[in-house]
Amino acid sequence: MVRDVNGRKRCGCGRMTNEIKISPIKNGTVLDHLNSGAIYKILQVLDLTDYTVTAAMNVESRKAGKKDVMFIEGKELNEKELGKIALIGKGATVNIIKNSKIKSKIKLGYPKKVEGILKCINPKCITNMEPIPTKFNIKTDPLEAKCFYCETQLNENEIVESIKK
């Protein structure tokens, strides 16, 4: 739970609750229920240089104990960007905010396939030699990504490291 600069209570989507000091957003995206520490990784893979971003780490969460929350003013994330976040924060919710109201809410799960999102870690892979989009099949428990072309398998850490900017 968070409290804004005026001391009003708000939750991740900007609605009134308790605790964290964060301003609500009028239009944009709120990423809620992110795993603790996911914010670092998300900032590395999304280009948010032109947007106002407010983030809270290790916020108390009834479900997970602790979570990260992120507010992006003026930007609705596209499918490719959501694909990247899905690989980092399974179970995160994405709230699209319009005129201070929740326009849509999506719970992210692992995708079965991703295209153009990951870079293959195999330097000899065709996708690192020719300008073609990468394709990976995703397996869960444990999270693994297999290159469609060279069949190289990436573990969870390698997946996060390989997400393209």
Partner: protein, 321 residues
Amino acid sequence: MKGYLTTTKKPKTKTKFLTDVVSISDFTREDIENVLTQAEKLEKMPVQKKQKILNGKVIASLFFEASTRTRLSFETAIQNLGGRVIGFAEAGVSSFKKGETLSDTIHIIENYADLIIMRHFIEGAAKRAAEISKKPIINAGDGSNQHPTQTLLDLYTIKKEFGKIDGIHIAMAGDLKYGRTVHSLMYALAKFKNVTVYLIAPEILKMPRHIIEDTEKSLKIFETKKLEKYLSKTDVLYSTRIQKERFPDDTEYEKVKNIYVISTKTISQGKKGIKVMHPLPRVNEITTAVDKTSAALYFEQAANGVPIREALLMMLKDVKK
């Protein structure tokens, strides 16, 4: 009243064979058995009949990386089936040297040939070629990734020798970490029943964990560092070359290069009727004295590359993608 026996049961429909041969993982057990059956039929087929199979067909043989057995056995197979071959035996004589992409090369060759055989040092090259080509692609090896025709000829050799693949006890010795033949063979054997695999390798050349995890539900797997440990139970001893080029430094290579040398003494310690296989070329893994024994199956194994490749050419020649 013959008609009264008419059944309403639908006849079994044959599942369609693959449109390209890229990875052994794409094969079902039925696909593998189909190829082995066709290879067996082709071995018995009269030459004149065989010569008509690829009549009027042009097969492109694109070898971006040097090869002896694979290229020559493919080209022999094409000649045996009455087809014509175009292509090159090394990347240096192709437009690759001028900077042409693989995609462009394939788009050009697909208009010249009815089927494309390709070996490339780039991993995933065959998958990419299959994705964009209107004509069927046979992967003759893509870097250290896949070499499906080698796996099929390995299985064919086992089937010919033992009459079955189910229930076989196979020991794989040598470089199990980097050797693509043993990786593909593990996945292929996992499609059969009651196969036992003994993995013999020093610590630094052990079979990758993920391959064991992927296959252990189907295969009975035992790991050891000692060549002799399971010899008394082994039907096939599959030896692989320890590849010098894979080692970061020469000292590490020197430590393991002659770790498993199969000699006549090794054979005498083994199960009666034990056979030795090797994808070749060999360096010091098998002494030449073994060549004269009945255990030596590796030259026959290499020869089996021809009927297997003939079978694949026959099965893919009219594929519409």
